[in-house]
Symmetry: C2
Subunit: 355 residues, 2 copies
């Protein structure tokens, strides 16, 4: 088991391991009692029996419907109801056992139930292990806006068990790989080279390769959180692919997975970077090629680009009137800009998504 310290205002550790049984010991070490587990139907079908065995005496278990579509106020209220019903109190620890949606919801619940209860993240997807479980962002979607209601709330610890990744279906696994490619492109040329050199092994989910990328991405994320916990500047670099990606998700009413939308968003935004000569054509092609290799979508046909554009404007990352974009600058680096002209953005959207 490896440990990464996240030195945010409240410090905590991310544990990365191949041995899921270490979780029980950690919970004892941290003196956590009165556990309330939140998970979703997909994860419960796979790990329900395992949970019963690992945690014979818990306060409660709530199984929600899976998917971004259920990351809404109804699900939130339903969980509050369950906590109240079980007499959960300030000593209760909420365990987020699942992917990004479970983690986002659990984080919001933990930060608001009785003004805050303890939280641990046990991410079961690649996306959650590498990205969403670290850094304390949480929230739910409302009126078509992703995470428009949410907070920053750090857990007691994060427990990433690599073996969970073996049971993901291909689509969910690739969904996570998109975020890892994102890290590599904007933060770490070595990681990008590693992914390129181990494409096949990563497709086949070899344990040591998975461990390496989860560990590297967690380290990158932890470092960024330390510098900018509240997403005021540096952390925004992780929004590469997301300005366009979020709008695509919303446009297609969340029928498309987050990582898939981000993959298309990365290509669109990399295209903008190429047009601005921030990266050259060779680099752009390399990005497209890598995304294609993992069978992630490289484009999607958007009939109403104007609508997409207006959704993007409403995206919560907007600052005043100008849209904010993260553009790769050489590979392994990026810049954050609000200076793109509307025409320029519109042309890029049209070229990449206009069909």
């Amino acid at each position: 088991m490896k440990e990464i310290k996240v030195n945010s205002k409240k410090s905590y550790s991310v544990f990365i391991t191949n041995d899921v049984n270490l979780l029980r010991g950690l919970i004892d070490t941290y003196k956590l009692h009165s556990l309330f587990i939140l998970t979703d139907e997909n994860v419960y079908n796979l790990y329900g029996k395992f949970l019963d065995k690992l945690f014979p005496n818990i306060l409660g278990l709530k199984v929600i419907k899976p998917g971004e579509k259920n990351k809404n106020i109804n699900t939130i209220m339903d969980i509050y109801d369950s906590l109240i019903e079980k007499n959960a109190d300030k000593k209760t620890t909420l365990v987020a056992f699942g992917g990004g949606v479970v983690g986002d919801i659990a984080g919001f619940i933990a930060s608001t139930y009785m003004r805050g209860i303890k939280l641990i993240h046990v991410p079961t997807t690649l996306m959650a292990q590498c990205d969403s479980s670290i850094g304390g962002k949480n929230g739910f979607d409302y009126k078509g806006y992703k995470n428009i209601i949410g907070s920053f709330y750090q857990p007691e610890f994060v427990f990433s068990n690599i073996n969970f990744l073996k049971t993901l279906d291909d689509r969910q696994y690739l969904n996570g790989l998109a975020e890892i490619i994102k890290y590599a492109i904007v933060c770490d040329i070595n990681l990008l080279n590693y992914i390129n050199q181990n494409k096949k092994a990563l497709s086949e989910r070899e344990s040591d390769k998975l461990f390496h990328i989860v560990y590297q991405c967690s380290k990158i994320k932890a470092k960024i959180i330390e510098e900018d916990e509240f997403d005021l500047n540096k952390r925004q670099i992780l929004n590469f692919g997301h300005t366009v990606g979020h709008a695509i998700e919303s446009y297609f009413n969340f029928e498309i997975l987050h990582g898939e939308a981000v993959a298309i968003g990365m290509i669109t935004e990399a295209y903008m970077a190429m047009k601005l000569k921030y990266i050259d054509e060779k680099h752009f092609n390399k990005i497209v090629e890598l995304i294609s290799y993992f069978n992630l979508p490289t484009k999607i046909k958007v009939d109403d680009i104007e609508l997409l554009f207006s959704i993007m404007h409403k995206d919560k990352k907007k600052t005043g009137e100008k849209l904010k974009f993260v553009l790769p600058y050489d590979l392994g680096h990026a810049i954050i800009t609000t200076d793109l002209k509307e025409n320029f953005i519109f042309d890029a959207l049209k070229y990449c998504l206009g069909g």
Copy 2:
């Protein structure tokens, strides 16, 4: 204008003044733009025109229905809707212009809309100026539990204009006095003496007397917050009268005002303190006498004491199975205890509230 610094994790100032026009200058000094004002119907009827004049260019104004009964999820969602409709973004500042309910709701909204926007408190009631606007606690009621959903979220500043207190109706004014008597009994014998010596002037709301008590209570609250922002120990001293008071509010379905319930709660809990010899009978009578002087209720007939008792058990301040009480210990001091026997509590409730 006097200024009190609150040195919580995020430091901010409480300004106490007789000149409401200073608010405009503070907003400029703090470089706050894109104001969204939250208030209630009562306050708006009194100060709507004033708000229009003081803030000619705001992003939005939302007037909610007054009272604890409306501190619920429906009101919360309705405000999110208004913020989205007005395109409120991360640069928006939410202005809580009203009493405790407006402040609690605004705090929750500000802490969760887009993972946190700026907040200023402009408390218009005595209760809000002396207590609820300082310290960052917020929340709303759900399933009969007060503030069961909420967070800690500190404002940019608090602006307490004493003149607002002149327009309160008597019931609201006395509601606030109950909290001030609470401060005096458990924290500050000098304040208790001051109130006793200036009972008549306080009844008549003389400006300098109001200024003094708002200033003293704000200072006490600021000091407590500095020592215990997240309500883990010391801050709980301010729950004197609240363990019983919250249960009474809930039992009577919030038909009774918070301060009124706290007044009855203080007498019941002071009675317990007397039974335990923490205070003598003379002190107990002094407390009853002071509360009576201001026409606050000293008792209320509870037909089903068992039900009241079970509501208290469900109150969020419970720790594990034992109820937590703040009991006066001499005057001007208090202790926090979870050691009271159920029979003892039940007998006190029956004696004070059984009719």
